[in-house]
């Protein structure tokens, strides 16, 4: 029981870090960014390159990698997304193209083999008789802190107010003199940075290879559909639901059934309540 509680919390934290960024950029810019999983992959690969080829210390490599991916996110937003933001279909296509280009670039540069992202903690911890890897506990801790910090940033800062304003009414926000393009860039940087961080934290215990972007985007998608596109509390709640649902199915039924949970949840939610738990209105 305690094991399910801990393992489910770790999965939920990783999912939440992925989904919050994904829903944030949708809530603010109405951009359904299919390249979000690529930021996750690039975070992990960036840390791999910086630690194994450039021999940087892990913390420096991780921070630098987050910064680089955030900058890459801004670049993608400026060059590809901004000119065609009016058409959601075009944005969908261009971000999918970016994701595939990133995947192929990783294939060509690193091959299809797994790569190693070193862990910050290699030790094993025992909590109430449950053995749990330090890297997982760290992912849980950092996930909670970072999402908390993001929440404070949105609620307490001027940038945060601007983000809220745009998400509630983009036109009115623009009339009030809020520089929406700059805000989009900030949100894109935050979203990409969060995904990269998730990749770095999950890299030591999950896979690091060119197709690693696909599963996270599927999960993030499922979570935001369940939670409501654009709603941060919705995605946190849905991340918890999905993380725990998968863990419970894994423990009580079979590991081979876990992957169907997210697909089923998406399907059910789309049938029963297409707006998701919190719908559009509850954005932030």
């Amino acid at each position: 029981m305690l094991e399910i509680l801990i393992v489910g919390a770790v999965s939920s934290a990783i999912y939440a870090m992925l989904a919050v960024g994904f829903t944030l950029i949708f809530g603010v810019a109405r951009v359904l960014n299919l390249a979000h999983g690529s930021f996750y992959a690039l975070g992990a690969y960036g840390t791999y390159v910086l630690t194994s080829h450039l021999k940087l210390p892990l913390l420096a490599a991780a921070l630098l990698s987050v910064a680089i991916v955030a900058a890459f996110g801004v670049l993608i937003e400026r060059v590809f997304i901004r000119p065609m933001r009016k058409s959601q279909l075009a944005v969908l296509m261009i971000t999918l193209a970016v994701a595939l280009v990133v995947e192929q670039a990783l294939f060509l540069t690193f091959g299809s083999e797994y790569r190693n992202v070193p862990a910050f903690v290699d030790a094993k911890f025992t909590i109430g008789g449950v053995n749990i890897a330090g890297a997982r506990l760290l992912a849980l801790g950092v996930g909670v802190v970072v999402i908390g910090a993001l929440w404070l940033f949105i609620q307490r800062t001027r940038y945060g107010s601007a983000i809220l304003a745009i998400s509630q009414d983009p036109q009115a926000a623009q009339y009030m003199g809020i520089p929406s393009d700059r805000i989009f860039s900030v949100v894109m940087a935050l979203s990409a940075g969060l995904a990269a961080l998730a990749g770095i934290l999950a890299g030591p215990f999950l896979t690091v290879q060119p197709t690693m972007w696909l599963l996270p985007i599927v999960k993030a998608f499922a979570i935001v559909v369940v939670g409501g596109l654009g709603s941060i509390p919705g995605s946190i709640l849905a991340a918890l639901m999905l993380g725990y649902a998968e863990t419970i199915v894994g423990y009580t039924v079979s590991t081979s059934w876990t992957e169907i949970v997210s697909v089923l949840a998406t399907l059910l939610m789309l049938m029963l309540r297409p707006a998701g738990i919190f719908g559009r209105r509850a954005a932030f």
Partner: protein
């Protein structure tokens, strides 16, 4: 759309065009075949180019071609290689065969990886009447028709790896003689990914292990996409098993090893782990595979006089450790070249007769074919290829543990397991 599907549609269109052109050409040009007899002998290589198995197939063939050409070629003709990407998708695999046979008009095909792809290719290979030396896929079904429908399927040979049924038999031997016999652990759990060949193999394994006196406490399958093994490990631990036998091929080997190590799972594991055959698997996951026992078709050990020199030469040229397709493909080129030399022609029927007589000392052992053109396994009296169980050790070095006759070091438990 994934890029493969675009590529596939373009390739299949090209292939259709090519086969049309080939049909027209065949009506007009009997003289062309005569002139082809004097040009280079063309080796077609259908393989999954983006994977290490595919790259190693090509490099293994390239090494053999360069060596043979440096010595004057075969029947005075040089060898050359044409590659086609068969990916892991049957449709693309068929297009690759059509491209190589109809368009490139190769004399022989050497390649293969995924059994599903090879099975889909078989009718097209036999229709093209081109000899096919399989060096990658393990399903017994690929060679099952050679004996029953010889005229159609005589072109199909498997140089390696040992087919899945033989692998199951050798795995059962591993459980009874090593896990139960030497380690004294009779309670085992069998864990495998949800793939067709694994579902076929696991019941055989369970039956064999039970007959050998082992107590199979749990049989668990997991999805190839699984990213969290905690529930599975928990079930295996609760079952009371003492040793975990795994069957992993296309996915998750890295996550499995990482999470096993990170949680200091109190049980050793070993079995078939295809990714763990890669020479640098352990390094690539930060040394977390140390302690795992994985089956290999060859490792750098003096199995035959060719094994160690091949491993060293391959490493020198490519800066990689070879996987099984590398030495299968390398041996296949020599086997084909010798058969052509004996037949004094590249005519498929003549070459097939000579291939059937093959007894070639290759890299994993002596290669001979049975009546299904399948590679014969090694035994007490025959030094053919066998499954070798090697353990990852500190520094990501490998030591052969099973079979005992080839042992290079004694088994060591992972550091956190107390005996």
């Amino acid at each position: 759309m994934k890029p493969e599907s675009l590529e596939r549609s373009v390739i299949s269109r090209l292939a259709r065009g090519a086969s049309l052109a080939a049909a027209c050409a065949a009506l007009a040009l009997p003289a062309a075949t005569a002139s082809a007899q004097s040009g280079p002998i063309r080796i077609g290589v259908p393989t999954a180019m983006q994977l290490q198995v595919g790259r190693d197939t090509q490099d293994g063939i390239k090494m053999a071609i360069e060596d043979i050409n440096a010595k004057g070629g075969v029947l005075g003709r040089k060898l050359e290689m044409v590659v086609a990407d068969e990916t892991e998708n049957p449709e693309t695999g068929i297009s690759a065969i059509k491209k190589l046979t109809a368009d490139e008009k190769v004399d022989v095909l050497i390649g293969g990886y995924t059994s599903g792809v090879t099975l889909a290719q078989l009718p097209h290979i036999s229709a093209a009447k081109t000899i096919y030396l399989n060096v990658g896929s393990a399903s017994p079904a690929t060679n099952a028709k050679v004996k029953t429908d010889y005229d159609h399927y005589k072109y199909i040979f498997r140089v390696g790896p040992l087919n899945a049924a033989l692998q199951a038999r050798q795995m059962t031997g591993f459980i009874s003689t090593f896990v139960k016999g030497e380690l004294g652990l009779s309670k085992i759990a069998i864990v495998g990914e949800n793939a067709k060949w694994v579902q076929d193999l696991v019941p055989l394994l369970k039956k064999g292990a039970t007959e050998a006196g082992a107590d199979v406490r749990a049989v668990e399958f997991f999805d190839a996409q699984t990213s969290d093994f905690s529930p599975l490990f928990s079930k295996v631990k609760d079952s009371g098993a003492q040793y975990m036998v795994v069957v992993l091929s296309h996915a998750s080997s890295d996550i499995f090893a990482k999470q096993w190590h990170d949680s200091r799972f109190p049980m050793a594991y070993g079995g078939i782990d295809v990714k763990s055959m890669d020479g640098d698997f352990c390094d690539r996951i930060g040394g977390k595979a140390v302690g795992e026992l994985a089956a290999n078709f060859a490792v750098r050990a003096p199995l035959t006089p060719k094994t160690v020199p091949f491993f060293d030469e391959f490493k020198k040229r490519t800066n990689r450790q070879p996987v099984y397709t590398a030495f299968g493909a390398n041996d296949a080129v020599y086997i084909y070249a010798e058969a052509v030399t004996r037949a004094k022609s590249t005519n498929p029927d003549a070459v097939i007769k000579e291939l059937e007589k093959t007894s070639y000392v290759g890299i994993p052992g002596t290669i001979e074919f049975d009546e299904n053109h399948d590679v014969k396994p090694g035994s007490a009296t025959f030094k053919g290829p066998a499954l070798l169980f090697a353990q990852w050790r500190d520094g990501c070095k490998r030591e052969v543990i099973v079979p005992k006759t080839m042992r290079t070091a004694d088994f060591v438990y992972p550091s956190w397991i107390k005996q």
